[in-house]
């Protein structure tokens, strides 16, 4: 299988043994890693007791004009070469995905889940992988997975003569890291956050409607703590989402044993010194998913947002707008899904002391404006909730025991999500944040009385058309959380307050 982003393409491998001087040729635009597989295959086969023919072996990877990359084709090529010699049978229509070690063992490869998913979609349900990838491959519904530790055992099952085979070799599986994404360890709990009632509520609203949020406040106010607790409030991923997220993570990491689909919405927190490629994806050769794609169906948290490179923030506009990231390379373009909830945190000014009365702030107004100007207008415009987070008082810290915990809030969020599904299902949408303006002002239109405040703000010029829509979406979420069928004037008013913050205006 050849993977381009998450899209997979079935590659057919055929081999011919010819009557000319000995050689081993691989056709079909193999890259360097693939060309090296000839030596790996030769050593592997001979150490397994079923050496390759000493005559001329020609292997073709069909379609011939599609460049092939990586070492995952090792096994398929080896099987084709042995089958061409008539020593094994029954290999047609089976997908082989593994790298070969020189000693004859099968080694796992990266990206097995999306590859197998694509194979099954294309009608090839029989898949053979290395033992280390077996659990991951089995996650795909409809896949008939066989796995082996050694090449010798594999060819034996396909009819090879056991006489010469090296069947005693049975390598122990190396200690593999249990995958960390399946269980995030002790989950940060909302009860840990002291006070901050306004912020907790805003977090709840963000979770309920999948709204993007900006938090502005001094260092130590708790912005990071709050951000870390957002994923805990989100509902677990459904089957389709879980398959997507697990596929992306399979491509992004290597060597993790994956025994179950990732159900917890992912949380990505790249540092502001991260490069564009680290966040958006890329790298030489096969473009790998970046933090923004790994956050698909989850949360992307940018702490100290104005410190990020301008290019990085600009690059995020594509996924925020279209829900996917297209990475262009010389060899083609790979597209990764990238629909996430964006969380931004920022200090009120470069020195961080401008909150509250702002008496200790030593920044000039120009410095403050410039600092915030790095979060470009179009980016901020997409952020639904803008919230000021203040330092907590000692009183708040002492009353820690009385704060609501994650489980309680999560339940309210779940109910709000349910209400959204029921209402938005006929439009093909899932959350309020996804509703386009046309429907907000069309099918889900509110009456004049409710939108009075908004209309006034727009007339005054303090609210743009896009801002108007954003407030409406928030109002719907507030109504869902309150259990009301439609938002009234008070919901709209509260939504407007959530949207605008004195820190940024």
């Amino acid at each position: 299988m050849a993977l381009n982003g998450l899209e997979g393409r079935v590659i057919e491998v055929e081999a011919d043994i010819g009557n000319t001087l000995p050689g081993f040729v691989i056709l079909g635009l193999p890259d360097a890693a693939l060309s090296e597989s000839r030596e790996r295959i030769r050593a592997c086969a001979s150490n397994s007791g079923i050496p390759l023919s000493r005559r001329k072996i020609t292997v073709n990877l069909f379609p011939a004009s599609l460049p092939k990359r990586g070492s995952g084709f090792d096994l398929a090529i080896a099987v084709a070469a042995i089958a061409a010699n008539g020593e094994i049978r029954g290999t047609e229509r089976v997908v082989f995905l593994a790298e070969l070690g020189l000693d004859g063992r099968l080694r796992p490869v990266r990206g097995v889940l999306p590859a197998v998913a694509a194979a099954v979609r294309a009608g090839h349900s029989r898949v053979v992988v290395a033992r280390g990838n077996a659990a991951e491959a089995s996650l795909v519904p409809g896949a008939e997975v066989s796995s082996y530790r050694t090449f010798a055992r594999l060819v034996l099952d396909f009819g090879a003569d056991p006489k010469e085979l090296n069947l005693d070799f049975d390598p122990a599986e190396p200690e593999q890291r249990r995958d960390a994404a399946g269980s995030m360890g002790p989950e940060p709990d909302l009860a840990d956050v002291a006070g901050q009632h306004e912020a907790r509520f805003a977090l709840e609203v963000a979770a309920a409607g999948a709204h993007h949020m900006l938090m502005v406040g001094p260092p130590g106010a708790g912005k990071t703590m709050l951000a870390e607790r957002l994923p805990g409030l989100l509902p677990p991923l459904d089957d389709e989402a879980a398959l997507e997220v697990t596929s992306i993570h399979s491509l992004a990491t290597q060597g993790e044993v994956r025994t179950e689909l990732i159900r917890q919405p992912p949380f990505e927190n790249p540092h502001h010194t991260a490069t564009c490629a680290a966040i958006v994806g890329g790298g030489a050769g096969l473009p790998r998913p970046g933090a923004a794609s790994r956050a698909h169906r989850g949360v992307l948290f940018l702490d100290e947002a104005p410190e990020y490179e301008r290019r990085v923030l600009d690059a995020l506009r594509q996924p925020l707008e279209h829900g996917k990231l297209v990475i262009h390379r010389a060899g083609g373009a790979a597209s990764y899904p990238s629909r996430f909830q964006l969380l931004l945190a920022a200090n009120p000014c470069p020195c961080g002391k401008a909150s509250g009365k702002g008496l200790e702030c030593s920044c000039t107004p120009l410095a403050r404006r410039r600092y915030f100007g790095r979060l470009s207008g179009p980016l901020l415009d997409r952020v639904d909730i803008q919230l000021g987070v203040q330092k907590i008082s000692r009183l708040d810290l002492d009353s820690q025991g009385e704060n609501e915990d994650t489980v309680t809030v999560r339940d309210r969020v779940r109910q709000a999500r349910q209400a959204q599904l029921e209402r938005l299902g006929r439009f093909g949408l899932e959350t309020n944040s996804m509703v386009p303006g046309k429907i907000l002002r069309g099918g889900l239109r509110l009456d004049r009385a409710s939108t009075r405040i908004l209309d006034a703000a727009m007339d005054r010029g303090s609210l743009s058309a896009r801002g108007y829509d954003r407030v409406l979406r928030l109002a719907w979420t507030l109504a869902d959380l309150a259990g009301d069928a439609t938002p009234g004037g008070d919901h709209v008013g509260l939504a407007l307050a959530l949207r605008t913050s004195e820190a940024t205006t």
Binding site: N19, T20, L21, P22, R54
Partner: protein
């Protein structure tokens, strides 16, 4: 004479006998000139056959055929032309062959004949 040369000589003899058994008439062996050497020159019907013989006592250092490299094949073509010029023998067709002799100690030698190596 060194052991490997003895082996090589023996291989060439075996190869020549092999060809004769097939009805291919050996015309010259070990023809030398400034540019190189031809192991066997033979005639197969209307085809001039130039055969390169490689003898090995084991497969440890690779199959004999693996020792016939592309530059060697090019040189054989060149040498064949020179031979024809010198001997004045011109035939309608020409072919390059390779003969591998596996002469493991204490076993029957195995001969492989590859016709038309390029």
């Amino acid at each position: 004479m060194r052991a490997k040369d003895v082996l090589g000589r023996r291989g060439e003899e075996l190869a020549a006998d092999f060809l004769e058994d097939q009805g291919i008439r050996v015309v010259e062996q070990n023809w030398r000139c400034a540019a190189g050497e031809l192991d066997i020159v033979a005639v197969d019907g209307d085809t001039l056959v130039v055969a390169e013989v490689k003898t090995r006592s084991s497969l440890d250092y690779g199959h004999p055929f693996e020792a016939v490299s592309p530059p060697k094949v090019a040189r054989l073509h060149h040498l064949a032309c020179r031979w024809m010029g010198e001997r004045g023998l011109r035939l309608p067709r020409r072919r390059l062959d390779a003969i591998a002799v596996l002469a493991a100690r204490g076993e029957e030698p195995v001969i492989e004949h590859l016709k038309g190596i390029g």
